[in-house]
Amino acid sequence: MFGISAPALLAQLLVGLINGSFYALLSLGLAVIFGLLNVINFAHGALFMMGAFVAYFLLNLAGVGYWGALVLAPIVVGAFGVLLERTMLRRIANLDHLYGLLLTFGLALIIQGVFQNYFGSSGLPYAIPAELQGARNLGFMFLPNYRAWVVVFSIAVCFATWFAIEKTQLGALLRAATENPALVRAFGVNVPRMITLTYGFGVGLAGLAGVLAAPINQVRPLMGADLIIVVFAVVVIGGMGSILGSILTGFALGVVEGLTKYFYPEASNTVVFVIMALVLMIKPAGLFGRTA
């Protein structure tokens, strides 16, 4: 606390916000999937990793660069998600949440295992796109242009998703379908297809986050496994299924974690879980959750 300069503090705040972008994007996907499908998607980290790998393969096999990957990778990962939903998740839709959790957890282990077998654990290199290379001096820190882009882009995607689900006709229909599928079906809406596409969309967000992370981290099989536990804590703190909650909590916890890394790095891996425990004791439904 003492001898800490304001510039250093500002820098840590900004760094926290950058990490928060990933938490927000990932927890947003989880929240969408849980809110609309009631599936606790443990495969989210593995799909995030797949997004990064798809970006790598697009570049190295098809010559498609970062910007193309930003569009294509989420679609590929989303399509894979649709396949998962159609072939497996659908079969357990009416069972207890635990089954979905176990199924997706198993899927995550299999996907990670396969990637690990063929690509090893140290991963593959992926460069920052030429347009976003370099850093600018903000006076208190060097801000890499790419990180600035990540924050701005994530906020835009999060806001667009929130808007689509909470404020549009389509979103209203989606929310209605989860409340009462039979009634919505009576209006002539193809509810199963809507659910499949929603899962594909949530998973596509994970793929998108994976592409964003590829130039920062190594593209490696465990990149998602390291993140997913924290992201689940974010979702729990924000309130399961709350779209806005997951976004705000994602950014906020990134900042809290960043500050912890500075003041007391030993706790940086646990601080999120301490907050989770506290929130669960005081507000069991999460900060933004509605009590069932």
Partner: protein, 404 residues
């Protein structure tokens, strides 16, 4: 007098029993490593492959020996490592434990090996404590240690003008040992250490620590971490303009697999210290080719994996010289220390009384993309550190066994 006679008889009987068991030709090796975590490419499956190759190359199967290899994943957790080694000793009757990278696990397993009188040949962990404060009659430490790394990369960087350091350190036994040993070398060579930032093992974001390192204005940022922690630190350091800002990165432990993963564009110019590089000579190249053919990801062997090969090789050579497996860890290790080490990967060497295997070490520099002629053509030799300078001099070792 009577007592001493019966004692004599007992000793003779025991000696006979020992002799009767000495032609036992069953051996069971356990490879304990990180199978799926951040160090899995340095050791992992490759360590098991290396052990299998050493067993095949020994030719002992044709002479009536039965050699089995078991392997397990310690997940970089000391408690998991200890439980597996106990189970190996008690139920599976494993004779020797190999690899055991991750220093925290290595130190914990050392206790089990001593309690259960196993052979413990560590070729994966770095903490120099293994042959100092934690030395034991059951341990042989192959390949490298933090003293060697500090005296390789640390010394070279300091002597090249990098006289002020800031450490980014993995906060566990290994990182602390590496920071400690490097600090000693930096200070001895007229440099000073300005501070450190310690991160938990297996982190993915290093920007907080790198910002602190940048703010310290130190000339050198010493990365006292390993595996994916190091590759992510290096990648993010280049993103934050650390080198562009005039600071120099010193990756104190860098495996060939890390350099390959980073790509030469990011890693070029970095110096690293190893005791084995796959492209050093015809012998290492031949080994590397056979090794790579057996790996699903076609990787070249790291020094940890080469160390597993060499240590299994020496272990089996010793057993063959003893004419059988006495299933007595301390006894085998004592005999091992009498035989000079020699193999195609590390050349000639010897095992010191404290268990440290001494052989030359090499300072390599990562090639530029233009210099590289192939996917794994990643480094060029800068300097050779002779065996007697690469490791802690015996006179300085704090190993308790040396004082008897």
């Amino acid at each position: 007098m009577k007592i001493s006679v019966s004692m004599l008889a007992l000793t003779a009987a025991l000696g006979l029993a020992g002799a009767a068991r000495a032609d036992d030709k069953n051996v069971k090796l356990g490879v304990l490593t990180d199978m799926a975590g951040l160090y899995a490419d340095a050791g992992g499956k490759g360590s098991v492959v290396a052990a299998q190759m050493a067993v095949e190359d020994s030719g002992l199967a044709a002479k009536g020996w039965k050699i089995d290899i078991v392997s397990a994943d310690h997940q970089n957790k000391p408690d998991v490592g200890v439980n597996i080694s106990r189970q190996w000793a008690d139920q599976d009757k494993v004779d020797g434990i190999f690899d055991v990278l991750t220093s925290s696990v290595a130190l914990a397993v050392g206790g089990v090996a001593k309690d259960k009188n196993l052979v413990y040949m560590n070729s994966g962990a770095a903490a120099s404590d293994l042959t100092n404060s934690a030395c034991s009659p059951n341990l042989v430490h192959w390949t490298y240690d933090t003293y060697m790394l500090a005296n390789g990369t640390g010394k070279a960087v300091t002597k090249a003008g990098g006289d002020s350091w800031f450490f980014v350190t993995a906060d566990y036994a290994f990182g602390q040992a590496l920071e400690r040993d490097t600090t000693a070398v930096v200070v001895a060579n007229g440099g000073k250490v300005l501070g450190d930032a310690r991160h938990p093992l297996s982190s993915s974001d290093f920007s907080s620590y790198l910002l602190q390192a940048q703010a310290s204005k130190a000339k050198v940022i010493g990365l006292a971490n390993a595996g994916a922690d190091t590759t992510n630190s290096i990648k993010q350091a280049s993103e934050f303009g650390v080198t562009a800002g005039g600071q120099k990165l010193a990756a104190l432990l860098l495996f060939a697999s890390d350099v390959h993963a980073l790509g030469l564009k990011v890693a070029q110019g970095l110096q690293f210290t190893v005791s084995f590089y796959w492209d050093a000579n015809d012998g290492t190249r031949a080994f590397a080719k056979r090794f790579s053919d057996r790996m699903a990801n076609k990787q070249m062997p790291t020094m940890v994996q080469a160390g597993v090969y060499a240590s299994v090789n020496h272990y089996l050579k010793t057993l063959a010289a003893m004419g059988g497996n006495p299933h007595d860890g301390a006894k085998v290790v004592a005999r091992m220390k009498e035989i000079p080490t020699e193999d195609t990967l590390f050349g000639k060497g010897s095992i010191e009384p404290n268990g440290r295997v001494v052989h030359p070490a090499y300072l390599y520099q990562v090639k530029t993309p233009a210099e590289s002629k192939g996917d794994w053509d990643i480094a060029k030799l800068v300097a050779t550190i002779p065996a007697d300078e690469a490791f802690t001099p015996l006179a300085q070792s704090t190993c308790a066994m040396l004082k008897k």
